[in-house]
């Protein structure tokens, strides 16, 4: 115990010593940097790295899991509260819809040395964001439990159901499966994954008309309900953090969770036996499909439009420094699947790499997708509670979406 602590201290010391000598080289003279980001370890590392290069610029950061709620109002103000927002496939859309972020082409040309072309998010030929990590939701399993009961690592959700039933029947665990089914955004995300796994399309091609009330939608809901039946009965209140706690308490043997959370599951905290038996594998497929029932996500930075050019420049230089930082990628290889040059994938990246190999689809970057996601999050709850039929739930989702889309001018 003491030895590991000493090791930690030594590593941190080394990090500080060498870290500063490498990072102090950005020479930013002025400007003010203020970043809004989600809150998980990889993003903290990324922002810290950017901070190391702030020079004499003012540097502030807000890490919040409520970032989605703050972003649009904060960036709408002029001047905007934040000079940069760390966004993802879904959260860049409202910023684009409201015209709140600026193209980065000039800045990339001037200061973007080391950023790879594959990191650039281009929309209509303009660079709108620079991605630095990839994320997805995939399966985690308890090797010891599966081995003991002679269960093979599940590759499909049908196998996940069968395996969970077997574990329950063995009496080892009452609720062997977990996924973030909290009513609202999380639950909707699970639907999106499962529906894409079934090969479903959310909208009629080329329009904003919904098209989820079909056989694939019904199959998706039925699978979600089966999985919910194998989860803790409080599943509608469980977000990613809650199921992580369930896992660490040893109550769960199979789980669908974000890749970016693997770091906290596999660290030294908690029961060493559970940590040692926690294994990662790719996302599952469903209903005989080839593509996984998961979506690919990127996290990248965007710059606020309503902020002075000087601030934008300072912010870009600091963030670009992190987005092309081989040292950060090497030091924090465990925290994320970095899209940055020099990244060597470790055992914690298996989920994302498998997902890419299996040709998982990225989360749909459509202007009206947020409304669909919102409608899903509240309207499918009653089906899971057994209060209405799958068809009725899907009909409700479409109707709720249509009213919102009409109000927003999409229909």
């Amino acid at each position: 115990m003491r030895e590991t602590n000493m090791k930690k201290i030594l590593i941190s010391l080394l990090f500080i010593l060498f870290g500063t000598s490498v990072y102090a080289d950005c020479n930013i003279k002025s400007g003010s940097i203020n970043i809004l980001a989600n809150d998980f370890p990889a993003l903290r590392t990324f922002v810290e790295t950017a901070k190391g290069c702030k020079g004499s610029a003012d540097f502030k950061v807000t890490h919040s899991s409520e970032h989605n709620k703050i972003a649009v109002p904060a960036l709408t103000a002029n001047p905007s509260e934040f000079s940069a927002r760390i966004a993802a496939n879904s959260s860049i859309v409202p910023l684009m819809n409201q015209d709140l972020i600026r193209p980065l082409d000039d800045l990339v040309k001037k200061y973007g040395k080391g950023i790879q072309d594959s990191q650039l998010i281009t929309i209509d030929g303009k660079i709108m964001a620079v991605a630095f990590m990839a994320n997805t939701q995939h399966l985690y399993y308890r090797e010891d439990v599966l081995k003991e009961l002679g269960i093979a690592v599940p590759k499909t959700y049908e196998e996940v159901v069968a395996a969970s039933e077997k574990i329950r029947a063995s009496g080892k665990m009452q609720y062997p499966y977990a996924a973030a089914y909290k009513a609202g955004w999380n639950l909707a995300e699970e639907f999106v994954n499962m529906y894409i796994g079934h090969g479903g399309e959310f909208f009629k091609t080329g329009t904003a008309q919904p098209s989820i009330n079909n056989a694939k939608g019904v199959a998706t809901l039925n699978m979600l309900k089966k999985l919910a039946g194998l989860s803790n009965p409080d599943y509608l209140t469980h977000d990613s953090e809650a199921i992580k706690v369930e896992w660490e308490s040893g109550n769960v043997a199979l789980m669908t969770l974000w890749a970016s959370r693997s770091g906290t599951l596999l660290d030294d905290d908690g029961d060493a036996k559970i940590t040692a038996a926690t294994k990662l594998t790719g996302p599952a497929t469903v209903a005989g499909g080839n593509i996984p029932a998961a979506t690919l996500w990127w996290d990248g930075f965007t710059l606020a439009k309503n902020r002075s050019d000087a601030d934008a420049e300072a912010t870009f230089r600091a963030l670009a420094h992190a987005a092309a930082n081989k040292k950060m990628v090497a030091d924090a290889a465990d925290q994320a699947v970095w899209l940055i040059e020099g990244f060597k994938p470790g055992p914690k990246s298996i989920g994302v790499i498998e997902a890419v190999k299996m040709k998982a689809k990225p989360y749909p970057m459509l202007p009206q997708m947020g409304l669909m996601h919102g409608a899903l999050g509240s309207e499918i709850v009653e089906f899971l509670q057994g209060k209405e039929s799958a068809e009725q739930a899907l009909k409700d989702v479409e109707a709720a979406y249509m009213s919102k889309a009409k109000e927003q001018g999409f229909l």
Binding site: N68, K69, V72, P73, N89, S90, V93, P94, M96, D99, S118, Q119, L120, I121, T122, I123, D124, G125, A131, K182, A183, W185, G206, N232, P233, D234, Y235, L236, T237, L296, W298, L339, V356, P362, M365, L366, P367, Q368, G370, L371, H373, G374, G377, S378, V381, E382, Q385, K387, E388, Q392, A399, A400, M402, S403, K404, K406, E407, Q408, G409, F410
Partner: protein, 352 residues
């Protein structure tokens, strides 16, 4: 009988005007104008979105997809920043009053039960039913419990009254969100209440959070717990003004404790009861924090929660929807309070 408001009966109108002016101005500025602006907002919807097909590239490849055409959109937005006039469009759409849908349900359903099922499946009515149920159960219980606590505390010896009063008003001091979170963890399947309930009922699958009815009951009990201290404090203060002579006379006449409460104390503090009922009704109609604290969005939605949902839960903010629900909440409170207000007004007139 009853406590007459000395301000209104004694103060000349002119003095009253100057006395009220600063408050009145602040009310117009911070309450009146925002309500008007919300009202205006509720009649507008977003402009039709002009979208175009573009090529999008990300680390996972390129696709042809659509985006909002900013050049064209910004031009329309500059001309009419409020949006497209929608009249009562937002009010009657499916996510609010759903006039059209209700008409359809009426024609299509075979029985009244089925019709009610369909209507209560609509988001606005679902929220309205929870909100009203909450008001209906919490308000009377708060009044009753607050009154009983006030009476009992009034009867204990003065020496221990101070600490007792402090302990009693604690639920009101605790921030609602914190209070509900504490209870939320206690009723967890592995929390102290949840686990004991499972043992008591001999049902390992019992979960207070997964059942809609149990969630409602939990939130209502929480509401009573949180609001009772307010009623208690006001009733306790009012009890101090009860004249002792009639009480003593009643004791000599052999009136029981209940008779004294029923015929002397209650009539005396009646105006205060009305006041507490009004405030509680208003507060309860805006129930919101416990839903967030208990993560009960799945089973219980209130009108205030709908507004919150429109403003923050979507990645796209629905100002029109939120404004329309806000206006209807205000109207709802007005309707709820109307009987009490009318009664107070009538009594005020006869008292004069």
């Amino acid at each position: 009988m009853g406590i007459k408001s000395p301000l209104i009966t004694l103060m000349p109108n002119k003095t009253f005007f100057w006395f009220f002016l600063p408050t009145g101005l602040a009310m117009i500025l911070f309450i009146g104008l925002p309500i008007i602006s919300t009202g205006i907002q509720s009649f507008y919807a977003q402009h039709d979105q002009v979208v175009k097909e573009v090529k999008k590239c990300d680390p996972f490849g390129c696709t042809v997809s659509i985006v909002v055409d900013q050049e064209k959109t910004s031009k329309i937005r500059e001309e009419k920043p409020l949006g497209k006039f929608n009249g009562f469009g937002t009010y009657v759409d499916r996510n609010h009053l759903a006039i059209e849908e209700i008409g359809k349900f009426w024609n299509e359903t075979n029985s009244f039960g089925e019709f009610v099922d369909q209507v209560t499946n609509l988001p606005f009515y679902k929220a309205l039913i929870f909100t009203l149920t909450y008001c209906l159960f919490v308000t009377p219980n708060v009044l009753l419990l607050g009154f009983i606590i006030a009476l009992s505390l009034n009867a204990v010896t003065r020496r221990i009254r101070g600490p007792l009063i402090f302990g009693t008003i604690l639920p009101m001091i605790v921030t609602p969100l914190v209070g509900s979170l504490v209870l939320f963890w206690m009723i967890d399947a592995e929390g102290i209440i949840g686990a004991n309930l499972q043992m008591l009922m001999d049902d390992p699958y019992l979960s207070l959070k997964s059942s809609k009815t149990l969630t409602w009951i939990t939130i209502i009990i929480y509401g009573i717990w949180h609001h009772s201290p307010f009623a208690f404090v006001v009733f306790y203060a009012a009890l101090q003004t009860v004249p002792q002579e009639p009480v003593e006379a009643a004791i000599i006449d052999g009136a029981s404790r209940w008779q004294r409460v029923r015929h002397i104390v209650l009539p005396h503090i009646y105006p205060v009861v009305t006041f507490v009922a009004l405030i509680s009704l208003m507060d309860n109609f805006r129930v919101f924090e416990p839903i967030i604290g208990f993560s009960a969005e799945g089973s219980a939605q209130s009108l205030s929660w709908l507004i919150y949902d429109n403003l923050v839960n979507e990645e796209v903010i629905l100002f029109g929807s939120a404004a329309a629900t806000s206006m209807m909440t205000i109207i709802g409170i007005a309707i709820l309070l109307a009987p009490v207000l009318i009664r107070t007004w009538k009594e005020f007139r006869t008292a004069r």
